[in-house]
Symmetry: C2
Subunit: 202 residues, 2 copies
DNA sequence: CACTTGACTACACGCTCGTGTAGGAGTTTG
DNA sequence: CAAACTCCTACACGAGCGTGTAGTCAAGTG
Protein backbone atom coordinates (compact mmCIF):
# COMPACT_ATOMS: atom_id res chain seq x y z
CA UNK A 1 0.00 0.00 0.00
CA UNK A 2 2.18 2.76 1.36
CA UNK A 3 5.38 0.85 0.72
CA UNK A 4 7.94 2.98 -1.09
CA UNK A 5 11.18 1.87 -2.66
CA UNK A 6 12.47 0.23 0.51
CA UNK A 7 11.27 2.51 3.28
CA UNK A 8 8.04 3.82 4.75
CA UNK A 9 6.80 7.31 5.39
CA UNK A 10 7.62 8.71 8.81
CA UNK A 11 3.96 8.44 9.76
CA UNK A 12 3.86 4.75 8.92
CA UNK A 13 7.13 4.13 10.71
CA UNK A 14 5.77 5.80 13.84
CA UNK A 15 2.59 3.72 13.66
CA UNK A 16 4.52 0.48 13.19
CA UNK A 17 6.90 1.34 16.03
CA UNK A 18 3.93 2.16 18.27
CA UNK A 19 2.24 -1.18 17.50
CA UNK A 20 5.48 -3.00 18.19
CA UNK A 21 6.33 -1.23 21.46
CA UNK A 22 2.74 -1.04 22.75
CA UNK A 23 2.43 -4.75 22.06
CA UNK A 24 5.68 -5.64 23.79
CA UNK A 25 5.54 -3.34 26.81
CA UNK A 26 1.89 -2.36 27.12
CA UNK A 27 0.36 1.05 26.48
CA UNK A 28 1.64 2.65 29.69
CA UNK A 29 4.99 0.95 29.35
CA UNK A 30 5.84 2.55 26.02
CA UNK A 31 6.32 6.33 26.07
CA UNK A 32 5.98 8.65 23.11
CA UNK A 33 9.71 9.31 23.39
CA UNK A 34 10.43 5.57 23.16
CA UNK A 35 8.22 5.24 20.10
CA UNK A 36 9.79 8.27 18.46
CA UNK A 37 13.28 6.87 19.05
CA UNK A 38 12.22 3.47 17.69
CA UNK A 39 10.87 5.15 14.56
CA UNK A 40 13.95 7.38 14.26
CA UNK A 41 12.12 10.70 14.59
CA UNK A 42 11.63 13.39 17.22
CA UNK A 43 8.91 13.03 19.83
CA UNK A 44 7.33 16.23 18.52
CA UNK A 45 6.67 14.60 15.17
CA UNK A 46 4.60 11.90 16.84
CA UNK A 47 2.44 14.62 18.27
CA UNK A 48 2.36 16.44 14.95
CA UNK A 49 1.04 13.41 13.08
CA UNK A 50 -1.26 11.91 15.70
CA UNK A 51 -2.08 14.71 18.14
CA UNK A 52 -1.93 12.76 21.37
CA UNK A 53 -1.00 9.38 22.76
CA UNK A 54 -4.65 8.40 22.95
CA UNK A 55 -5.20 9.39 19.32
CA UNK A 56 -2.08 7.44 18.34
CA UNK A 57 -3.54 4.39 20.03
CA UNK A 58 -6.83 4.87 18.22
CA UNK A 59 -4.99 5.02 14.92
CA UNK A 60 -3.09 1.85 15.82
CA UNK A 61 -6.36 0.19 16.83
CA UNK A 62 -8.00 0.98 13.52
CA UNK A 63 -4.97 -0.06 11.50
CA UNK A 64 -4.49 -3.34 13.38
CA UNK A 65 -8.21 -4.12 13.17
CA UNK A 66 -8.23 -3.47 9.44
CA UNK A 67 -5.25 -5.72 8.83
CA UNK A 68 -6.61 -8.47 11.07
CA UNK A 69 -9.95 -8.47 9.29
CA UNK A 70 -8.09 -8.71 5.99
CA UNK A 71 -6.26 -11.78 7.25
CA UNK A 72 -9.51 -13.16 8.61
CA UNK A 73 -11.11 -12.94 5.18
CA UNK A 74 -8.11 -14.64 3.61
CA UNK A 75 -8.46 -17.47 6.11
CA UNK A 76 -12.20 -17.98 5.64
CA UNK A 77 -11.66 -17.93 1.89
CA UNK A 78 -9.06 -20.64 2.40
CA UNK A 79 -11.84 -22.61 4.07
CA UNK A 80 -13.18 -23.70 7.44
CA UNK A 81 -11.18 -25.79 9.84
CA UNK A 82 -7.93 -25.13 8.05
CA UNK A 83 -8.03 -21.72 9.76
CA UNK A 84 -6.96 -23.48 12.95
CA UNK A 85 -3.75 -24.69 11.34
CA UNK A 86 -0.94 -22.64 12.88
CA UNK A 87 1.11 -22.74 9.69
CA UNK A 88 -1.53 -20.73 7.85
CA UNK A 89 -1.49 -18.04 10.55
CA UNK A 90 1.38 -16.09 9.12
CA UNK A 91 3.95 -14.63 11.47
CA UNK A 92 3.08 -11.21 10.16
CA UNK A 93 -0.10 -11.10 12.24
CA UNK A 94 1.77 -11.81 15.47
CA UNK A 95 2.66 -8.17 16.28
CA UNK A 96 -0.88 -7.14 15.44
CA UNK A 97 -2.40 -9.78 17.73
CA UNK A 98 0.01 -8.85 20.49
CA UNK A 99 -0.89 -5.20 20.15
CA UNK A 100 -4.64 -5.78 20.01
CA UNK A 101 -4.55 -7.95 23.11
CA UNK A 102 -2.63 -5.29 25.01
CA UNK A 103 -4.92 -2.56 23.79
CA UNK A 104 -7.93 -4.66 24.75
CA UNK A 105 -6.60 -5.17 28.27
CA UNK A 106 -6.08 -1.44 28.45
CA UNK A 107 -9.75 -0.78 27.75
CA UNK A 108 -9.77 -0.14 24.00
CA UNK A 109 -13.26 0.08 22.50
CA UNK A 110 -12.09 -0.99 19.07
CA UNK A 111 -10.25 -4.04 20.39
CA UNK A 112 -13.19 -4.95 22.63
CA UNK A 113 -15.49 -4.76 19.60
CA UNK A 114 -13.17 -7.18 17.81
CA UNK A 115 -13.49 -9.57 20.74
CA UNK A 116 -17.27 -9.37 20.68
CA UNK A 117 -17.21 -9.93 16.94
CA UNK A 118 -15.06 -13.00 17.45
CA UNK A 119 -17.49 -14.35 20.06
CA UNK A 120 -20.39 -13.77 17.67
CA UNK A 121 -18.73 -15.54 14.78
CA UNK A 122 -17.64 -18.47 16.95
CA UNK A 123 -21.23 -18.74 18.13
CA UNK A 124 -22.53 -18.84 14.57
CA UNK A 125 -19.81 -21.17 13.44
CA UNK A 126 -20.44 -23.61 16.28
CA UNK A 127 -24.11 -23.75 15.34
CA UNK A 128 -23.35 -24.43 11.70
CA UNK A 129 -20.72 -26.96 12.71
CA UNK A 130 -23.31 -28.94 14.67
CA UNK A 131 -21.93 -28.45 18.17
CA UNK A 132 -24.43 -28.23 21.00
CA UNK A 133 -22.98 -26.80 24.22
CA UNK A 134 -25.24 -26.23 27.22
CA UNK A 135 -24.48 -22.50 27.12
CA UNK A 136 -23.45 -21.61 23.59
CA UNK A 137 -22.62 -18.00 24.44
CA UNK A 138 -20.35 -18.99 27.32
CA UNK A 139 -18.78 -21.64 25.12
CA UNK A 140 -18.06 -19.10 22.41
CA UNK A 141 -16.69 -16.56 24.90
CA UNK A 142 -14.37 -19.18 26.40
CA UNK A 143 -13.15 -20.14 22.92
CA UNK A 144 -12.46 -16.51 22.05
CA UNK A 145 -10.47 -15.97 25.25
CA UNK A 146 -8.57 -19.20 24.69
CA UNK A 147 -7.49 -18.19 21.21
CA UNK A 148 -5.81 -15.10 22.65
CA UNK A 149 -4.36 -16.67 25.76
CA UNK A 150 -1.09 -17.79 24.19
CA UNK A 151 -0.37 -14.23 23.16
CA UNK A 152 -0.79 -12.95 26.68
CA UNK A 153 1.41 -15.62 28.22
CA UNK A 154 3.91 -15.88 25.41
CA UNK A 155 6.90 -15.40 27.74
CA UNK A 156 5.70 -18.03 30.18
CA UNK A 157 4.69 -20.46 27.45
CA UNK A 158 8.02 -19.95 25.70
CA UNK A 159 9.84 -20.66 28.93
CA UNK A 160 7.77 -23.78 29.58
CA UNK A 161 8.44 -25.07 26.08
CA UNK A 162 12.08 -24.02 26.00
CA UNK A 163 11.27 -22.50 22.62
CA UNK A 164 10.34 -18.99 21.54
CA UNK A 165 6.73 -19.06 20.35
CA UNK A 166 7.13 -15.81 18.45
CA UNK A 167 9.06 -17.81 15.87
CA UNK A 168 6.99 -19.66 13.25
CA UNK A 169 8.25 -23.02 14.54
CA UNK A 170 7.42 -22.28 18.17
CA UNK A 171 4.07 -20.81 17.25
CA UNK A 172 3.23 -23.92 15.25
CA UNK A 173 4.11 -26.03 18.27
CA UNK A 174 1.87 -24.20 20.75
CA UNK A 175 -0.79 -23.97 18.05
CA UNK A 176 -0.79 -27.73 17.81
CA UNK A 177 -1.03 -27.96 21.59
CA UNK A 178 -4.10 -25.74 21.45
CA UNK A 179 -5.57 -27.86 18.67
CA UNK A 180 -5.22 -30.98 20.75
CA UNK A 181 -7.03 -29.32 23.62
CA UNK A 182 -9.94 -28.97 21.21
CA UNK A 183 -9.49 -32.50 19.90
CA UNK A 184 -9.10 -34.65 23.00
CA UNK A 185 -12.28 -34.88 25.08
CA UNK A 186 -11.18 -34.49 28.68
CA UNK A 187 -14.29 -35.70 30.41
CA UNK A 188 -17.27 -37.63 29.12
CA UNK A 189 -20.68 -36.08 28.61
CA UNK A 190 -21.96 -38.01 31.64
CA UNK A 191 -19.24 -36.59 33.90
CA UNK A 192 -19.92 -33.10 32.60
CA UNK A 193 -23.60 -33.58 33.36
CA UNK A 194 -22.78 -34.64 36.91
CA UNK A 195 -20.62 -31.56 37.49
CA UNK A 196 -23.34 -29.39 36.03
CA UNK A 197 -25.91 -30.73 38.44
CA UNK A 198 -23.55 -30.46 41.39
CA UNK A 199 -22.89 -26.80 40.71
CA UNK A 200 -26.60 -26.12 40.42
CA UNK A 201 -27.11 -27.35 43.94
CA UNK A 202 -25.22 -24.36 45.37
CA UNK B 1 -4.11 -15.92 60.78
CA UNK B 2 -3.59 -12.23 61.27
CA UNK B 3 -7.28 -11.51 61.58
CA UNK B 4 -8.04 -9.39 64.62
CA UNK B 5 -11.40 -8.52 66.10
CA UNK B 6 -12.77 -6.97 62.92
CA UNK B 7 -9.78 -5.24 61.41
CA UNK B 8 -6.34 -6.07 60.12
CA UNK B 9 -2.96 -4.62 60.95
CA UNK B 10 -1.86 -1.71 58.80
CA UNK B 11 0.72 -3.93 57.13
CA UNK B 12 -1.92 -6.49 56.15
CA UNK B 13 -4.28 -3.78 54.94
CA UNK B 14 -1.55 -2.34 52.73
CA UNK B 15 -0.76 -5.78 51.31
CA UNK B 16 -4.43 -6.53 50.61
CA UNK B 17 -4.94 -3.12 49.03
CA UNK B 18 -1.85 -3.66 46.86
CA UNK B 19 -3.09 -7.06 45.67
CA UNK B 20 -6.47 -5.56 44.86
CA UNK B 21 -5.18 -2.48 43.01
CA UNK B 22 -2.29 -4.24 41.29
CA UNK B 23 -4.75 -6.88 40.11
CA UNK B 24 -7.29 -4.37 38.85
CA UNK B 25 -5.00 -1.78 37.27
CA UNK B 26 -1.72 -3.58 36.74
CA UNK B 27 1.55 -2.96 38.53
CA UNK B 28 2.39 0.29 36.76
CA UNK B 29 -1.19 1.47 36.94
CA UNK B 30 -1.36 1.43 40.72
CA UNK B 31 0.91 3.93 42.47
CA UNK B 32 2.17 3.67 46.03
CA UNK B 33 0.04 6.70 46.85
CA UNK B 34 -3.07 4.97 45.48
CA UNK B 35 -2.36 1.87 47.53
CA UNK B 36 -1.74 3.92 50.66
CA UNK B 37 -5.02 5.79 50.18
CA UNK B 38 -6.88 2.51 49.59
CA UNK B 39 -5.42 1.11 52.81
CA UNK B 40 -6.13 4.35 54.71
CA UNK B 41 -2.49 5.14 55.56
CA UNK B 42 0.21 7.52 54.40
CA UNK B 43 2.42 6.66 51.45
CA UNK B 44 5.43 6.80 53.75
CA UNK B 45 4.09 3.89 55.77
CA UNK B 46 4.05 1.69 52.71
CA UNK B 47 7.72 2.42 52.27
CA UNK B 48 8.35 1.92 55.98
CA UNK B 49 6.84 -1.57 55.94
CA UNK B 50 7.96 -2.82 52.55
CA UNK B 51 10.97 -0.69 51.57
CA UNK B 52 10.15 -0.19 47.89
CA UNK B 53 7.46 -0.84 45.31
CA UNK B 54 9.40 -3.82 43.97
CA UNK B 55 9.71 -5.28 47.47
CA UNK B 56 6.00 -4.71 48.04
CA UNK B 57 5.28 -6.66 44.89
CA UNK B 58 7.56 -9.46 46.02
CA UNK B 59 5.70 -9.64 49.33
CA UNK B 60 2.39 -9.75 47.46
CA UNK B 61 3.77 -12.45 45.16
CA UNK B 62 4.81 -14.65 48.06
CA UNK B 63 1.55 -14.10 49.93
CA UNK B 64 -0.65 -14.79 46.89
CA UNK B 65 1.41 -17.84 45.97
CA UNK B 66 1.09 -19.22 49.50
CA UNK B 67 -2.67 -18.75 49.54
CA UNK B 68 -3.11 -20.23 46.07
CA UNK B 69 -1.10 -23.30 46.98
CA UNK B 70 -3.26 -23.70 50.08
CA UNK B 71 -6.36 -23.64 47.92
CA UNK B 72 -4.72 -26.02 45.47
CA UNK B 73 -4.15 -28.55 48.23
CA UNK B 74 -7.75 -28.19 49.36
CA UNK B 75 -8.90 -28.92 45.83
CA UNK B 76 -6.68 -31.94 45.26
CA UNK B 77 -7.79 -33.28 48.63
CA UNK B 78 -11.38 -32.83 47.42
CA UNK B 79 -10.38 -35.09 44.53
CA UNK B 80 -9.48 -35.12 40.84
CA UNK B 81 -11.81 -33.87 38.19
CA UNK B 82 -14.04 -32.10 40.69
CA UNK B 83 -11.35 -29.42 40.77
CA UNK B 84 -12.66 -28.25 37.40
CA UNK B 85 -16.04 -27.51 38.89
CA UNK B 86 -16.32 -23.71 39.02
CA UNK B 87 -18.50 -23.82 42.13
CA UNK B 88 -15.63 -25.26 44.16
CA UNK B 89 -13.34 -22.45 43.10
CA UNK B 90 -14.31 -20.03 45.77
CA UNK B 91 -14.67 -16.35 44.92
CA UNK B 92 -11.98 -15.62 47.49
CA UNK B 93 -9.26 -16.76 45.12
CA UNK B 94 -10.40 -14.43 42.36
CA UNK B 95 -8.42 -11.37 43.54
CA UNK B 96 -5.36 -13.56 44.05
CA UNK B 97 -5.61 -15.05 40.56
CA UNK B 98 -6.14 -11.61 39.08
CA UNK B 99 -3.08 -10.30 40.89
CA UNK B 100 -0.85 -13.24 39.99
CA UNK B 101 -1.77 -12.99 36.32
CA UNK B 102 -0.93 -9.29 36.30
CA UNK B 103 2.29 -9.86 38.16
CA UNK B 104 3.19 -12.65 35.76
CA UNK B 105 2.61 -10.43 32.75
CA UNK B 106 4.82 -7.84 34.41
CA UNK B 107 7.71 -10.30 34.60
CA UNK B 108 7.41 -11.65 38.14
CA UNK B 109 9.71 -14.59 38.84
CA UNK B 110 7.46 -15.98 41.54
CA UNK B 111 4.37 -15.88 39.35
CA UNK B 112 6.29 -17.34 36.42
CA UNK B 113 7.43 -20.20 38.66
CA UNK B 114 3.80 -20.84 39.54
CA UNK B 115 2.99 -21.07 35.84
CA UNK B 116 5.80 -23.54 35.22
CA UNK B 117 4.62 -25.56 38.21
CA UNK B 118 1.11 -25.61 36.74
CA UNK B 119 2.45 -26.84 33.41
CA UNK B 120 4.41 -29.56 35.17
CA UNK B 121 1.45 -30.80 37.17
CA UNK B 122 -0.86 -30.73 34.13
CA UNK B 123 1.75 -32.76 32.28
CA UNK B 124 1.90 -35.35 35.06
CA UNK B 125 -1.84 -35.39 35.49
CA UNK B 126 -2.48 -35.89 31.76
CA UNK B 127 -0.14 -38.87 31.81
CA UNK B 128 -1.87 -40.43 34.79
CA UNK B 129 -5.23 -39.64 33.23
CA UNK B 130 -4.34 -41.61 30.12
CA UNK B 131 -4.27 -38.79 27.59
CA UNK B 132 -1.78 -39.04 24.76
CA UNK B 133 -1.22 -35.77 22.92
CA UNK B 134 1.37 -35.57 20.16
CA UNK B 135 3.34 -32.98 22.12
CA UNK B 136 2.51 -33.39 25.80
CA UNK B 137 4.52 -30.36 26.91
CA UNK B 138 2.81 -28.06 24.41
CA UNK B 139 -0.55 -29.53 25.38
CA UNK B 140 0.11 -28.84 29.06
CA UNK B 141 1.36 -25.30 28.35
CA UNK B 142 -1.74 -24.56 26.31
CA UNK B 143 -3.96 -25.89 29.10
CA UNK B 144 -2.19 -23.73 31.68
CA UNK B 145 -2.57 -20.61 29.56
CA UNK B 146 -6.23 -21.43 28.93
CA UNK B 147 -7.01 -21.74 32.62
CA UNK B 148 -5.80 -18.17 33.15
CA UNK B 149 -7.27 -16.64 30.01
CA UNK B 150 -10.66 -15.82 31.49
CA UNK B 151 -8.97 -13.76 34.18
CA UNK B 152 -7.13 -11.68 31.65
CA UNK B 153 -10.18 -11.04 29.51
CA UNK B 154 -12.69 -10.79 32.32
CA UNK B 155 -14.01 -7.42 31.13
CA UNK B 156 -14.46 -8.61 27.57
CA UNK B 157 -15.94 -11.94 28.59
CA UNK B 158 -18.30 -10.21 31.01
CA UNK B 159 -19.44 -7.89 28.24
CA UNK B 160 -19.94 -10.78 25.83
CA UNK B 161 -21.98 -12.68 28.39
CA UNK B 162 -23.88 -9.67 29.69
CA UNK B 163 -22.95 -10.91 33.14
CA UNK B 164 -20.12 -10.03 35.51
CA UNK B 165 -17.85 -13.05 35.77
CA UNK B 166 -16.30 -11.79 38.98
CA UNK B 167 -19.53 -12.85 40.70
CA UNK B 168 -19.84 -16.53 41.68
CA UNK B 169 -22.74 -16.99 39.27
CA UNK B 170 -20.94 -15.43 36.32
CA UNK B 171 -17.75 -17.29 37.11
CA UNK B 172 -19.65 -20.57 37.23
CA UNK B 173 -21.11 -19.79 33.82
CA UNK B 174 -17.80 -19.12 32.07
CA UNK B 175 -16.29 -22.03 33.99
CA UNK B 176 -18.88 -24.29 32.43
CA UNK B 177 -18.11 -22.80 29.03
CA UNK B 178 -14.46 -23.68 29.55
CA UNK B 179 -15.40 -27.18 30.68
CA UNK B 180 -17.35 -27.76 27.50
CA UNK B 181 -14.37 -26.72 25.43
CA UNK B 182 -12.56 -29.59 27.10
CA UNK B 183 -15.51 -31.91 26.66
CA UNK B 184 -16.62 -31.45 23.07
CA UNK B 185 -14.09 -32.75 20.54
CA UNK B 186 -13.89 -30.13 17.82
CA UNK B 187 -12.16 -32.13 15.14
CA UNK B 188 -11.57 -35.83 14.77
CA UNK B 189 -8.20 -37.46 15.24
CA UNK B 190 -8.01 -38.02 11.49
CA UNK B 191 -8.55 -34.33 10.73
CA UNK B 192 -5.95 -33.38 13.33
CA UNK B 193 -3.50 -35.76 11.71
CA UNK B 194 -4.10 -34.20 8.31
CA UNK B 195 -3.45 -30.71 9.67
CA UNK B 196 -0.31 -31.94 11.39
CA UNK B 197 1.07 -33.33 8.14
CA UNK B 198 0.15 -30.21 6.22
CA UNK B 199 2.01 -27.98 8.63
CA UNK B 200 5.07 -30.21 8.41
CA UNK B 201 5.24 -29.60 4.69
CA UNK B 202 6.16 -25.95 5.24
C1' DC C 1 13.10 9.25 84.87
C1' DA C 2 15.89 8.93 80.57
C1' DC C 3 16.44 6.18 76.55
C1' DT C 4 15.34 3.27 72.75
C1' DT C 5 12.45 1.32 69.36
C1' DG C 6 8.84 0.82 66.02
C1' DA C 7 4.66 2.72 63.68
C1' DC C 8 3.52 6.53 61.31
C1' DT C 9 3.26 11.33 58.84
C1' DA C 10 4.80 15.46 56.22
C1' DC C 11 7.53 17.17 52.92
C1' DA C 12 11.01 17.74 49.46
C1' DC C 13 14.13 15.62 45.74
C1' DG C 14 14.95 14.28 40.99
C1' DC C 15 13.08 11.91 37.19
C1' DT C 16 10.00 10.82 33.38
C1' DC C 17 5.85 11.47 31.40
C1' DG C 18 2.32 13.78 28.04
C1' DT C 19 1.72 18.00 26.28
C1' DG C 20 2.43 22.91 24.59
C1' DT C 21 5.03 26.37 21.83
C1' DA C 22 8.21 28.46 18.70
C1' DG C 23 10.55 28.01 14.81
C1' DG C 24 13.43 25.94 10.74
C1' DA C 25 13.68 23.70 6.03
C1' DG C 26 11.65 22.45 1.77
C1' DT C 27 7.87 22.42 -1.46
C1' DT C 28 3.74 24.29 -3.44
C1' DT C 29 0.81 28.04 -4.92
C1' DG C 30 -0.83 32.78 -5.83
C1' DC D 1 9.10 36.63 -5.59
C1' DA D 2 6.46 35.96 -1.57
C1' DA D 3 3.01 33.78 1.00
C1' DA D 4 1.30 29.43 2.67
C1' DC D 5 1.53 24.91 3.86
C1' DT D 6 3.63 20.52 5.43
C1' DC D 7 7.12 17.98 7.77
C1' DC D 8 10.04 18.15 11.28
C1' DT D 9 13.04 19.56 15.53
C1' DA D 10 14.28 21.77 20.01
C1' DC D 11 12.91 23.12 24.28
C1' DA D 12 10.06 24.30 28.22
C1' DC D 13 6.04 23.38 31.37
C1' DG D 14 3.26 21.11 34.89
C1' DA D 15 1.88 16.79 36.84
C1' DG D 16 2.67 12.41 38.86
C1' DC D 17 5.86 9.05 39.98
C1' DG D 18 9.25 6.36 43.33
C1' DT D 19 12.17 7.55 46.69
C1' DG D 20 14.76 9.95 50.54
C1' DT D 21 14.76 12.52 54.98
C1' DA D 22 13.32 14.52 59.21
C1' DG D 23 10.40 14.35 62.81
C1' DT D 24 6.10 13.06 65.88
C1' DC D 25 3.98 9.95 68.98
C1' DA D 26 3.23 6.01 71.91
C1' DA D 27 4.91 1.82 74.13
C1' DG D 28 8.36 -0.60 76.24
C1' DT D 29 12.86 -1.00 79.12
C1' DG D 30 17.04 -0.05 82.06
Amino acid sequence: MDRRIDDLTARARIRDAAIRLFGERGIEGASIRDIAAEAGVSSGLVRHHFGSKEALRDACDRYAKERMLEVGEELTDAGGVAALDPATLHPRVFPLQLYLVRSMMDGSETAAALFLGAVDSIEEWSTAYGIHPTDRRAYAAAMAAIKLSVFVFRDQVSKALGEDITTPAGYARIGQGLMEVFTIPLITEEQAEQLRKKSEEN
